[in-house]
């Protein structure tokens, strides 16, 4: 099993790449994204983390994309699953 820190690092890099691809299309829809962030909490088997970014329109947060990616100390998804999920959400944002 991938260690949480290694998984988080790979997931963060993958989603940053997806954001770079999605940004022009988002701009066309008058949307922008806040910074991609990893929120962490707990320890050991209680450790959890979340990958998140807020969606902005006209300077206001109008939506958010957040994935509870590490739960109970272990990754809940694969990096590819996260990448696919974010990609589909970027396409659907309005």
């Amino acid at each position: 099993m991938t260690a949480p820190a290694e998984f988080e690092e790979a997931a963060f890099a993958a989603i940053q790449d997806e954001i770079a691809v999605a940004l022009p299309s988002l701009r066309d829809r008058n949307l922008s994204l806040g910074p991609l962030e990893v929120a962490r909490g707990g320890q050991g088997e209680g450790y959890a983390s979340e990958l998140r970014t807020y969606v902005f329109r006209d300077g206001q947060i109008c939506d958010a994309l957040e994935v509870h990616m590490v739960r109970n100390g272990a990754p809940a998804f694969t990096v590819d699953e996260l990448r696919d999920w974010f990609r589909s959400q970027f396409e659907d944002l309005t």
Partner: protein
């Protein structure tokens, strides 16, 4: 305390899973899980207007509106991801992330947004949606 809730089902945003409700004062309003597909036409629902393609319930006396957005695709674990965007007088004041699996809320946290976009959390007893398996 359970505040009186003026429920307005958002219409027309079915493809985006957008739902909205307002309440008289936001403290104490439990999440209303609405599974409707928003099939009613906008004109049939009072106090709802179409804004930028989304249905937004009319503001209450405090100017508070909550918009619930459900991600169109569940996660790989089957979890349904909801976001509750709370706005007051057009400015976003909090964002709540909530994940449901098999009808159970397995993850929830509410982040408050300041006037200048700063983010902060308040103690659970102050929040309408206290932490569940957060972050």
């Amino acid at each position: 305390m359970l505040a009186s809730v003026s429920l307005s089902l958002a219409a027309g945003g079915a493809q985006n899973g957008v739902r909205a409700f307002t309440g008289a004062g936001h403290a104490g309003i439990g999440l209303l899980t609405l599974q409707s597909s928003c099939s009613r036409p906008v004109s049939a629902v009072s106090d709802v207007e179409l804004v930028s393609g989304f249905c937004v319930a009319a503001e209450d006396a405090d100017g508070v509106t909550q918009i619930i957005k459900t991600r169109p695709e569940p996660g790989a674990d089957g979890g349904i991801s909801n976001h509750i965007i709370e706005q007051q007088n057009g400015e976003t004041t909090s964002v709540t992330h909530q994940v449901e699996v098999d009808g159970q809320v397995v993850h929830q946290h509410q982040t408050y947004i300041g006037k200048y976009s700063g983010q902060r959390q308040f103690p659970p007893e102050w929040s309408q949606f206290p932490d569940i398996n957060a972050p």
